[in-house]
């Protein structure tokens, strides 16, 4: 890969702007290692909490067509104490591993962050936005005071970059973006609260009823949040939501993202999406005479 695709987020150097999003194929060290070897510039781990959690019973995903899905995995995770070895295995690929964590308050987040940092991750992503788990999801993500105290406490606890992943399921994203101002970068967006009903069974499909919508359907929403927050705050942003191609990636970068995370596209394209999108992005940038990602960030923003 040429230098054209290199980018930097809060001091972390990336070979290309494509990172594996939290929650998709990133709970097992071997899986993360394989995805890094197959072209992702970095991975964000599954969101990890203090205690082991089995998550919801299947059905935990519904495919709704067009490469979109609704998931309610329910933050299944092995618990922070059992996760050190997975990070160790993933790090063997020699690329950044970003540890995602979730909790109920500032103290829990800061303990998780310290432990995650001790495993050798390159950054911490705060999941302030899971749309379908009580107590650690929406309640936190929509409370600016809580967001501010969590971000502040975690920043004091670790000396690696801290990213705050915000929820799109709020009425005023700017209020939350400002509350998370102490984070090194903002991650936009998490899934959009949604559901599916099977008319023949006459009931909701997900065992949890509600889940989070992801895939191409949410790209316009993610894009708008990235654009709006970048324009208003100028903060570094990691774009997420419905990215499946080089054009999608460039859209997010022109809206203000320094790099992007990709999740649901792994369902449609498999692990090879990273390699394929990198190659296409290189060609697209060359043909559009865009020499570097850094010159392209926020290019579309109208002042």
């Amino acid at each position: 890969m040429s230098n054209r695709l290199q980018t930097v987020i809060s001091g972390l150097r990336l070979d290309n702007p494509l990172i594996l999003a939290s929650g998709i194929l990133d709970e097992n060290g071997y899986t993360m290692k394989r995805i890094l070897k197959e072209g992702a510039a970095a991975v964000v781990t599954k969101s990890i909490g203090s205690a082991e959690r089995s998550g919801y019973k299947p059905p935990v995903v519904v495919e709704i067509g067009g490469g979109n899905m609704i998931n309610a995995i329910g933050l299944a995770n092995p618990g922070i104490e059992n996760f050190g070895n997975e990070v160790k295995i993933a790090r063997e690929a020699g690329k950044p591993v970003i540890g995602s964590i979730f909790g109920a308050d500032a103290e829990e987040f800061s303990n998780l962050a310290k432990k995650m940092a001790s495993y050798g991750v390159s950054g911490i992503e705060l999941n302030l936005s899971c749309p379908h788990v009580k107590g650690v999801g929406q309640e936190i993500g929509s409370d600016p005071d809580l967001v501010e105290s969590i971000v502040g406490e975690v920043k004091r606890s670790v000396n690696i970059p801290v990213f705050a992943k915000l929820s799109p399921n709020v009425s005023d994203i700017m209020e939350l973006a400002k509350a998370a101002d102490r984070a090194d970068a903002l991650v936009l967006i998490n899934t959009v609260r949604a559901m599916a009903i099977d008319v023949y069974a006459r009931r909701p499909v997900l065992s949890n009823v509600y889940g989070g919508l992801s895939g191409p359907a949410i790209k316009p929403v993610g894009l708008r949040y990235v654009y709006e927050v970048k324009k208003e705050t100028g903060k570094e942003i990691i774009g997420v939501g419905g990215i499946q191609s080089a054009e999608d990636t460039l859209e997010y970068i022109m809206a203000g993202a320094s790099c992007v995370e990709i999740g649901t596209a792994l369902h449609t394209g498999g692990r090879s999406v990273f390699r394929a999108i990198s190659r296409d992005l290189e060609n697209l940038m060359a043909s559009e005479k865009l020499d570097s990602i850094s010159d392209t960030i926020g290019m579309a923003i109208q002042r």
Partner: protein, 249 residues
């Protein structure tokens, strides 16, 4: 979600039933579907018949499979799929090695050139042994109530393996591991149907992973050579939470 109607139910053994339904879709031996029992749960099951009439073979071991075994002709059945990579089909003689309900996924591979080692705990639980030519059949039971007393390995040792173009193996991981170890280094071609916790079935949740491969997408059928590369096979598996569990085989 796809839905269809159950058109036949067969009691195969005292604990195992096959449920037939119409589904106009090309499915290959070794592929699976996620079957949904509204209000109860969803489980992965491989197809035991892949022709025009599709069939799944179920043993009750939890709420969802239990509800499935209770379906009757005329009931609605909900599912999604087909998922997974199928077995490789060959022209020559084949050996099927099935432990317990493992025979269900091997059933679509049965033809005139098939030999089989069918094993179960006891004679009542032998599955689909009646579908194999008697002369080609080797029965194994844990309790010795019929056939060889022991494991499929005891039957395998007696066979000249070089006459088979392919050996297909399906059963509990401990059985796969033992057979794999005994085939290792021999000049044979073999494929193993693996089992891991499955939640999404579509390669996003990581619950079914082994050595960074997803059983639901990259498997659940793996060749001898692929299994050879796996550090996790027979050593560790993942719990429902994703915690690594050490296996002591």
């Amino acid at each position: 979600m796809i839905h269809s109607t159950v058109v036949r139910v067969d009691q195969n053994t005292p604990t195992v039933r096959s449920i037939g339904f119409k589904w106009d879709c090309k499915v290959l031996p070794g592929q699976f579907i996620m079957v949904w029992i509204p209000g109860i749960g969803e489980i992965p099951i491989s197809l035991s018949s892949t022709g025009n009439l599709k069939e799944i073979t179920v043993k009750s071991y939890g709420p969802a499979s239990d509800a499935l075994t209770k379906l009757e002709t005329g009931s609605r059945i909900f599912f999604r799929g087909p998922y997974g990579r199928p077995f490789t089909l060959v022209k020559g003689k084949t050996l099927l090695i099935g432990g317990g309900s493992g025979m269900a996924s091997l059933k679509p591979l049965i033809n005139e050139r098939s030999y089989a080692i069918v094993s179960a705990r006891t004679r009542d639980e032998l599955l689909f042994s009646d579908k194999i030519h008697e002369g080609n059949l080797h029965l194994v039971t844990d309790d010795g109530s019929i056939g060889i007393k022991g494991t499929p390995l005891n039957a395998l040792e007696k066979l000249n393996l070089t006459e088979f173009e392919m050996i297909y193996v399906c059963g509990p991981e401990i059985m796969l591991k033992k057979i794999f170890d005994s085939l290792r280094g021999k000049k044979v071609r073999a494929e193993f149907a693996m089992e891991r916790t499955m939640k999404c079935g579509i390669g996003v949740c990581d619950s079914c992973s082994i050595d960074g491969l997803q059983l639901c997408r990259d498997g659940s059928i793996f060749s001898m050579e692929e299994v050879m590369e796996m550090e996790e096979f027979g050593r560790t598996k993942l719990s429902e939470s994703g915690r690594r569990i050490i296996l002591n085989y």
